[in-house]
């Protein structure tokens, strides 16, 4: 059945002071500031309401929640009246009944009486409250002025706005403001003319609406209604699960009818999202049953052959026999595996175990290689572990928020809403980004300082900020003396204090005025609790790891690690980046970030796994490509990752894959990598999985199966079968047993189990005998994981990717709100209506110089390659910098990115590519060849179907 959450009417208040009052004769004790409505609900007394809901501040407009209070005149609204000690409150009386019935009568006199055919039948608060107040007739009739013939707005592909059903309770408008922070909705007109209005009386799709669904969630009637509910009817059962998009890891209620998802609604008890959602998690889940899903195992000898559907056993045995043949012919180290941040912890754990135990080498890597591997290195070196330091909720205590190389409103929208709420409350914002991203200036938010640096100069900026803090006496000396390694701090202090690291000396390099850098540094160091949030604009550089270290240094020097409201917070791109790294997916370390060369740790795994492990690190993904091209790497097991589309220098990747003898791809679609594969194993979507994801705040949440795997086997079962066929037994009966093994072998996971997560909702690692039962919300409290915090010198070294007369512009890449990563999921949804192609953003100055207008086709040439996109002229760019996304394979965004990479981790330098941009009339040669190749591969697939 559907699990209906209790709506307490107004938000929870926290206070050290409690008040006790009497409601309907019952004593009730609540924190001071709690509304009478909430106090009553907590005591089990439901006060009628329409304009109140516990995700929004009280509004007091519907007049349905009136109560009587001894000693007070009139009938106060219980939603806006705070509980006070000694109050005696009555929620029911003849007079209250009469008043409420009169109010309801007015509402219903302007509401269609179509309950039996209404999409919200059975899930309508107006219907429920009409019953609660005992409405039996409407004295006013239905012939007067009304809104019953108001037109529907069906422009949004996911929900309708039926104005005829609107009771103007304002919940949608307030949700857009308070929960989402977009301010796209308002109430236009006055009195009887009052109507909900997106933008300037525009259709939803033409307004600023970002389709987060907060308004739909808040609507008490069918005014704002999911189209799937209109089409399919009300769901009949539900399960709590975790979103499969970004690293925020929102909890959702999958509302089902049989095995069919009717809607996904954000779960208000989910600690990552607290009842909020974005367009992707809320609406873009239809890909799971898209006709393109691969549902049968397939094999072929060569990539020019048609696919042939085979049984699971034949596919698995073929893959195993090929891997064995390759190892016999080319050596033990000639094959490897890649895990995915889109897969569960249990699935990634099994793949790395298969590589280490069944392949007998350490050639396992994960897609975090190309996003947050520098976070692992940088935070590991400075703090002792690879993880963000805070909970998302911690932002509510931040006074200064520094966003570096992240675009949270597009990439991590639900967390961005929490951040924007805190900013509207008065926290100060510093943005370090080459582009004027949305959060720099959005409704009721304006960054104090936008450091619009030149791409590739992050480390210069972080050193300049540190220079100001050290030379102006802004170091938190007491914190540093107590918490940090003195020798490393002194070396760092001497280094950043050098004149060459001053904002003035680096201004020419970074393009940021020295005065702006100085002001930002002073604000960060002296503005109270200061929190840094960063993204791939930090990591995807030749000095990605150096920049992570620089951020860690800055936070330590100012005492901003180890309590609420501060910290260093990597915003993880995909849903399980944190988890896939935790699970030992990197070739040099076992689960829990322990190096493979550590004999004690290795022995623990050897003993448990019953096999000898190799003590040397394996190949990283770029190293695998290199080894393939030079003939020593011939076989790959790739689960849930699309390296051809997402990795840089596409030609290099496809050439490497073409040189290999057996590529096994396990995925839900024929992705770009699968077009080079010899074995295609159908994968499961998140709706078909049992397991866990770990989000950017180290929060481990359950992923629950709400429909059976379309291909009959779950991903973990496929890996087990492959391992068994290779001769290494894996005989788990359920993913919970895999987590039990992880917990047994990994100290930071010792206290984690499915049973505990099911009971508590989620846990945060470290979670063991030394922590609270639910784990560790804030890291490094009292002391750093490594003991003393370690400062490292961060010498700025300019990227080798230089602009020249031939390549005078810098290209940087990223993502947008409606599409996700390589787009395999979101491109197969109606999200394409927001973003149907990758465009190149160009500054007006650069566009004018080249005669480029919006919608023109432009050729983009780099040292690596050439592709063609349509242009958008945008002042968000700075002159000399162009930008694009990489959501569509035919765009070839990564045809032009280069092999340059981070010095420590080989994370690609996606964010800096020197290019020339000129108007053109036709696609690039690569695009023409890609089209032929791709159509041919589709035909080879269709041959099998």
């Amino acid at each position: 059945m559907i699990d209906h959450d209790i709506d307490y009417g107004t938000p929870r208040r926290t206070s050290e002071q409690e008040v006790t009052l009497t409601i309907d004769g019952m004593p009730v004790t609540v924190p001071a500031g709690t509304s009478l409505m909430r106090a009553a609900t907590e005591a089990g007394v439901m006060v009628p309401k329409l304009c109140a809901t516990d995700s929004l501040e009280p509004f007091g407009s519907c007049r349905l929640c009136l109560v009587e209070i001894d000693g007070r005149k009139g009938f106060p609204a219980s939603c806006t009246t705070p509980a006070e000690a000694g109050m005696n409150v009555r929620t029911q009386s003849d007079k209250l009944q009469q008043l409420r019935k009169g109010v309801m009568e007015l509402y219903i006199s302007d509401h269609p009486l179509d309950c039996l055919t209404c999409a919200a039948n059975g899930d309508c608060e107006l219907q429920t409250q009409a019953g609660v107040v005992g409405l039996r007739n409407v004295r006013y009739g239905y012939d007067g002025a009304n809104h019953l013939k108001d037109q529907k707005d069906e422009s949004n592909p996911y929900f309708t706005y039926d104005a005829s059903k609107c009771i103007v309770c304002n919940r949608c408008v307030r949700a857009c403001e308070e929960t989402q922070g977009t301010f796209a909705l308002t109430i236009s007109g006055r009195g009887f003319e009052s109507r909900v209005s997106p933008g300037q009386d525009q259709p939803f799709m033409d307004s600023e609406c970002v389709s987060c669904g907060a308004c739909v969630q808040a609507c008490p009637t069918a005014t704002l209604q999911e189209k799937t509910v209109i089409e399919r009817g009300q769901p009949e059962h539900s399960a709590i699960t975790t979103c499969a998009y970004c690293g925020v890891g929102c909890s959702f209620k999958a509302e089902m009818k049989g095995n069919e998802v009717i809607r996904m609604t954000p779960w208000k008890d989910g600690k990552a999202n607290e009842g909020h959602s974005c367009i992707k998690g809320r609406f873009a889940w239809g890909y799971a049953t898209h006709k393109d899903r691969i549902t049968k195992p397939m094999i072929r000898a060569k990539i020019t052959d048609p696919w042939r559907e085979v049984s699971w056993d034949e596919a698995i045995n073929h893959a195993a026999s090929e891997f064995k043949r390759i190892q016999a012919q080319h050596g033990r180290d000639s094959i490897g595996g890649i895990t995915s941040s889109r897969c569960t912890n249990e699935e990634t754990y099994l793949v790395q175990k298969l590589v280490r135990a069944a392949f007998g080498n350490n050639n396992v890597d994960t897609c975090a290689r190309v996003c947050h591997s520098p976070t692992g290195y940088g935070l590991g070196q400075t703090y002792g572990t690879s993880a963000g330091t805070q909970t998302f909720k911690s932002v509510e205590h931040a006074d200064v928020i520094m966003v570096i190389g992240a675009n949270p409103t597009d990439g991590h929208p639900v967390f961005a809403s929490r951040m924007k709420k805190r900013l509207r409350e008065g926290a100060k914002l510093i943005v370090v980004d080459p582009r004027a991203i949305d959060i720099v200036s959005s409704p009721h938010i304006k960054a104090e300082h936008h450091l619009a640096l030149r791409p590739g100069t992050n480390v210069a900026i972080i050193s300049a900020l540190a220079h100001v803090i050290v030379t102006e006496g802004l170091v938190d000396e007491k914190y540093v003396a107590e918490r940090c390694d003195p020798k490393s701090f002194q070396h760092w202090r001497d280094f950043v204090a050098k004149e060459e690291n001053s904002p003035e000396a680096l201004e020419a390099e970074t393009g940021v005025p020295a005065a702006t850098v100085r002001a930002a540094a002073r604000l960060y160091a002296t503005g109270g609790n200061a929190a840094i949030y960063y993204g791939l604009g930090v990591t995807e550089h030749a000095q990605g790891s150096t920049m992570v270290i620089g951020i860690a240094n800055l936070a330590m020097a100012t005492g901003n690690v180890g309590r609420e409201g501060v910290g260093v917070n990597p915003l993880r791109g995909q849903n399980n980046v944190q988890g896939s790294c935790d699970m030992g997916s990197f070739p040099h370390e076992l689960p829990g970030y322990r190096h493979i060369s550590d004999t004690t740790v290795r022995s623990l795994f050897e003993s448990h796994w019953g096999v000898e492990l190799q003590p040397e690190p394996g190949l990283r993904i770029p190293n695998m490509f290199e080894a393939a091209l030079t003939g020593s790497f011939k076989g790959l097991y790739c689960q849930g990752e699309d390296i051809v589309q997402s990795d840089p220098n596409t030609q290099h990747v496809s050439e490497a894959l073409s040189s290999m003898e057996c590529i096994v791809v396990q995925d839900i679609f024929l992705n770009e990598t699968a077009k080079y594969a010899h074995v295609l194993l159908p994968g499961s979507s998140f709706l078909e999985k049992e397991g866990t994801f770990t989000n950017a705040e180290r929060r481990i949440s359950r992923v629950r199966k709400v429909m059976p795997p379309l291909a009959g086997l779950a991903d973990w079962e496929v890996t087990c079968k492959l391992s068994n066929a290779l001769g290494y037994p894996m005989n788990y009966k359920h993913p919970s047993q895999i987590m039990d093994e992880i917990a047994a072998l990994t100290p930071t996971f010792h206290g984690v189990s499915f049973e505990k997560i099911d009971r508590l909702g989620s846990v945060q690692w470290p979670c063991n005998e030394n922590t609270e039962e639910a784990g560790t919300p804030i890291m490094h409290v009292g002391k750093f994981v490594r003991g003393k915090g370690r400062f490292l010198i961060t010498q700025y070294i300019a990227t080798p990717e230089k602009v020249t007369r031939k390549f005078p512009l810098l290209l940087t890449t990223g993502r947008i709100l409606s599409q996700y990563n390589v787009g395999a999921q979101t491109r197969r949804t109606a999200n394409n209506q927001w973003h149907s192609e990758d465009r190149l953003e160009v500054h007006p100055h650069d566009a004018e110089e080249r005669g480029i207008k919006t919608d023109d086709w432009v050729g983009i040439e780099s040292r690596a390659g050439y592709t063609v996109l349509r242009a958008v002229i945008s002042e968000r760019m700075q002159p000399g910098v162009v930008y694009t996304t990489f959501h569509f394979p035919e765009s070839g965004a990564n045809v032009i990115t280069t092999d340059n990479s981070d010095w420590a981790t080989n994370c690609p330098e996606y964010k800096v590519t020197a290019v020339q941009v000129l108007p053109v009339m036709q696609p690039s040669t690569w695009q023409k060849e890609y089209k032929v190749f791709s159509e041919n591969q589709e035909a080879l697939l269709n041959h099998a179907r």
């Binding site: 180290d333 070396h491 280094f495 040099h588 040397e616 010095w903 420590a904």
Partner: protein
């Protein structure tokens, strides 16, 4: 392995550690990094190239580190 890429990577590592004031720590840092993160065939390809072509393509820190700590690479 394309040795020019290995040289480039070794030089990048050398550049990071070059600014460490403690020279011994810097050289140890380079060698430890290569040992901890490079797969053995990458290390052996680099060393074989250095044996054949000398250390001239490496920056001073990378070259000194590999010379000093060659035994553990």
């Amino acid at each position: 392995m394309h040795v020019e890429n290995l040289i480039k990577m070794a030089n990048q590592i050398g550049e990071f550690f070059a600014s460490f004031p403690d020279r011994e720590e810097a050289l140890d840092g380079v060698a430890t990094h290569i040992k901890k993160f490079w797969e053995p065939r990458m290390r052996s390809a680099l060393l074989a190239h250095l044996d054949a072509a000398g250390y001239g393509e490496l920056n001073v820190t990378a070259a000194d580190a590999i010379r000093t700590h060659r035994g553990r690479l």
